[in-house]
């Protein structure tokens, strides 16, 4: 049986589909957030960006 998320996939906007790719519910919220940050969808002022600014 499919996940509910799989069922709604085609009804989503393109930009929402991109977010959907990260929603691996076997992962914890923190891991999903980390993936989104790594992919540049989210940013919470990581130390990397601070470093860049300092440079």
């Amino acid at each position: 049986m499919m996940n509910l998320i799989e069922l709604i996939k085609k009804n989503l906007r393109e930009k929402d589909k991109k977010i959907l790719l990260f929603l691996d519910l076997d992962k914890t919220d923190e891991d999903i957030i980390t993936d989104m940050v790594a992919a540049g969808f989210l940013n919470f002022g990581s130390s990397d960006s601070d470093d860049k600014e300092n440079k």
């Binding site: 996940n3 069922l7 709604i8 929402d16 977010i19 929603l23 919220d29």
Partner: protein, 790 residues
């Protein structure tokens, strides 16, 4: 349809199962198709014998992600093998990783404890809560099918959205607190700051000093306006500054023969004035009269009586007088030249002294100081004196003039007229500059007086106030530009993060709509069937549909979503706390509803102990439902460890074979039970005869204990009552009417009960305390059993 499981090698408890070798009745009866599975198959096995391993093999064939582990008793390096023969004699092999043929993929419908765990969820309110809170939180609910999972998915998305939102909020909040701290000192809000974003971005740090200087100036100006407003009388008394007259010019007017003439002082000429030069000059001046005088004199003879000039009578000797008169005329001209030199020298000296002593009007500084209290002076009054070197030069020139004045006919040389001209030009520039500044100051004084009179100072104050405010803001923004830039970047990032949150919100909303849609479809597809099966299996139970509109929404986040059902037992709600049995009833009903709905009847149905928590009534009704609902399907496998359910199944289900799974010589084995004599105890009795050769392990104590109990129960039942006999009156009839047949039973009653008691207690149903002792005890009991020869 599966015909046979030829081989199971090295799969958990199936250490080395070979269908043909293990089955003792193989080929014994040609009419009894023992070497193939039937359309329906009942498999009985006690716990730990390998029943669930067989179900796992079916799941693996079905394509489910099941790990078929290796046997504990085989070397780790040993490979695994399963060989299955299908009805059309196709063989399917498993090599430890994959199946050679996927024709059975998705062909199984399997009911086991995992089905229950997966598809039936009883969600109850927390019983430790107060009734009021439980009431507030909503009702209990039973999720069926995927709806617990769907509900969990929606919760996860919502929680993820909230987690990101909170993280994003905290992220902004940290920067916001910093900015609010900075802004509070200046008195503007962060919203106002955001409106100034473009302005801030254009600000240049290099302008900081300029703005600061301007601010200080304006603040001073403001102070002065304040004073002006307070001391109006002093403003009206302010005097204008005097300008310095520029009198330094070699051009001068000179009165000559009654005519005023413009003349340029030539110091060199003046200083070099001598008698010769004076005479020459005089002659030059009277030269126009020279011919007149000459002609007049030529007319003079000794006889001349009348003067040729004035026609008066001339007396002898008077010619001398004429000449004298002429000299007088000459002298007069000479004196005039000399006087002119004197005059011009004096003018020149005045000019030089003026240059030397050049200075500002003494009242100007006083007036200026008074005005300064009220107006801002951009340029101070300049120093108005010539340079020291120039003063020395000028003094030297003055000395030359003085010298000449004393001795007017002496030739004096050494004039520095060229340098003096330069000094004059410099002085003129100084005076012009001084006067320009004076004019500016005077303009301001005049304007101030005018503004004061006309009451414009208040407006002026407001203008400067406004300028100061703008400058202060500019300075503040430049000073904190880096902080503001970071804040704006944080806002941008925050807004970008919000787009992800918005996406999650949209997904969340769509999921909410979809779950309702799916639930309505589920209700339409299954509810009626489920409800009917529940009633049939357990008449005291009832499953109820949602009353009213289905919705995902809940009164609090801890409420269950309303995409579920209500279950009652004897009219009482038990949705929130289903017992194992109730849960199993619902799960089985859902499974049967799925079978009913499934149009693909080529599938194989597997039910692994579907009645674990059922009472006798439910076991019987379950067997009936199984028989009815699986008839149209290709093949059925029911496995159970429950003797009563086994009995019901064997009675209810037609076209069936019956199998035991036992551990034989260290491996689980599937044993076919012939229809005519549905026991395999005689094969176990053969094993008992070789009991001394069998290792007395803890596991064998359990296995052979089970076999001993099985032999005792089934042999007595089959030999004395008949296997299918379960009618009490018929059994009593047999005992009372055929006493002879039961003689051996009566005579050995104590031994039989002793062995049976030992099998049911004494640790045989469980693992023994002491392997060696138990094995020896068991062997004694087995020998006793064989000696009975029942």
């Amino acid at each position: 349809m599966i015909k046979k499981i030829n081989k199971i090698d090295n799969i958990v408890s199936f250490t080395f199962f070979n269908w043909d070798e293990m089955n003792p009745y193989h080929d014994a009866n040609t009419n009894d198709p023992i070497d193939v599975f039937n359309k329906n198959n009942v498999i009985f096995a006690e716990n730990g014998n390998g029943k669930s391993v067989l179900v796992d093999i079916f799941k693996s064939l079905n394509g489910q992600d099941i790990e078929l582990k290796k046997s504990w008793y085989r070397a780790e390096t040993d490979g695994q093998k399963i060989k299955i023969t299908l009805e059309n004699n196709t063989e399917i092999d498993f090599n430890g990783l994959t199946w050679s043929n996927r024709s059975l993929k998705n062909q199984f419908l399997i009911f086991d404890k995992h089905f229950i765990e997966k598809f039936v969820h009883s969600i109850g309110t927390n019983y430790t809560d107060t009734p009021h809170r439980r009431q507030q939180r909503g009702r209990n609910i039973v999720y069926l099918g995927n709806f617990a999972k769907y509900n969990n998915e929606i919760d996860r998305i919502n929680n993820l959205k909230n987690a990101i939102n909170e993280k994003n909020h905290t992220f902004l909040e940290t920067e916001q607190a910093k900015i609010d701290g900075i802004l509070s000192k200046y008195g503007i809000t962060s919203d106002e700051l955001i409106q100034k974003r473009n302005k801030i971005q254009k600000l240049n740090k290099k302008d900081f000093k300029t703005k600061k200087d301007k601010l200080i100036k304006n603040q001073i100006e403001l102070g002065k306006i304040d004073r002006s407003l307070k001391e109006k009388s002093k403003i009206s008394a302010l005097s204008l500054l005097l300008e310095v007259k520029d009198t330094f010019s070699l051009e001068t007017e000179f009165d000559e023969l009654g005519e005023k003439k413009k003349i340029t002082i030539n110091p060199n000429e003046l200083l070099s004035f001598t008698i010769a030069k004076g005479v020459q000059k005089t002659i030059n001046k009277i030269i126009s009269k020279k011919d007149f005088i000459k002609q007049g004199l030529a007319l003079l003879t000794d006889k001349t009586t009348d003067c040729p000039f004035c026609e008066q009578k001339i007396k002898n000797g008077e010619y001398i007088q004429i000449i004298k008169n002429y000299q007088e005329i000459f002298n007069e001209h000479f004196a005039s030249e000399e006087q002119k030199v004197h005059t011009l020298l004096l003018k020149y000296r005045d000019l030089l002294e003026g240059l030397r002593d050049l200075q500002v009007p003494s009242s100007n500084q006083v007036n200026l100081n008074q005005a300064k209290q009220f107006i801002t002076i951009d340029d101070e009054l300049p120093i108005l004196t010539i340079a020291k070197r120039e003063k020395v030069l000028t003094n030297n020139e003055i000395n030359l003039v003085l010298q000449k004045e004393k001795k007017i006919l002496d030739k004096i040389s050494g004039s520095s007229i060229d340098q003096i001209k330069t000094i004059i030009e410099n002085a003129k520039t100084l005076i012009k500059n001084y006067n320009d500044i004076t004019k500016k100051i005077n303009t301001k004084i005049v304007q101030l007086k005018k503004d004061s009179l006309e009451g414009k100072l208040v407006i002026r104050k407001k203008e400067i106030d406004s300028k100061c405010t703008q400058l202060e803001e500019g300075i503040f923004l430049i000073e904190n530009k880096d902080n503001f830039k970071k804040y704006f970047e944080t806002i941008d990032i925050n807004n970008k993060n919000k787009k992800v949150i918005d996406s999650l919100e949209r997904i969340f909303q769509i999921l909410k709509d979809r779950i309702v849609e799916e639930f309505n479809k589920f209700v339409s597809d299954y509810f009626e069937s489920i409800s009917s099966f529940v009633k049939e299996i357990s008449p005291a139970m009832e499953i109820l549909d949602i009353i009213g509109q289905v919705t995902y929404d809940r009164r609090s986040s801890r409420d269950p979503a309303q995409c579920g059902f209500c279950v009652q037992y004897n009219g009482k709600d038990c949705s929130g706390s289903l017992s194992e049995g109730e849960r199993q009833v619902i799960a089985l009903s859902f499974f049967f509803a799925q079978l009913k709905k499934d149009t693909n009847k080529t599938k194989l149905i597997v039910l692994d102990d579907p009645i674990t928590s059922f009472d006798a009534g439910k076991r019987k009704s379950t067997a009936e439902v199984i028989q009815r609902e699986t008839t149209d399907f290709e093949q059925l496998f029911i496995s159970t460890c429950d003797p009563l359910f086994r009995t019901y199944c064997l009675k209810q289900i037609d076209k069936r074979n019956f199998y035991y799974i036992f551990k034989t010589r260290g491996s689980s084995s599937i044993h076919y039970v012939p229809k005519k004599k549905e026991t395999i105890y005689s094969s176990f009795e053969d094993e008992f005869k070789d009991i001394e050769d069998i290792q007395g392990t803890n596991e064998n104590v359990v296995v052979y204990g089970q076999k001993l109990r099985f032999c005792l129960e089934t042999k007595i039942k089959e030999e004395y009552f008949g296997y299918s006999e379960d009618n009490l009156s018929s059994m009593i009839e047999k005992v009372t009417s055929r006493k002879e047949d039961f003689k051996k039973l009566f005579n050995n009653k104590d031994t039989i009960l002793q062995i049976y008691k030992y099998c049911n207690t004494g640790g045989l149903a469980h693992y023994p305390k002491d392997g060696a002792t138990s094995w020896n005890e068991l062997k004694d009991k087995i020998k006793q059993y064989l000696d009975l020869d029942l």
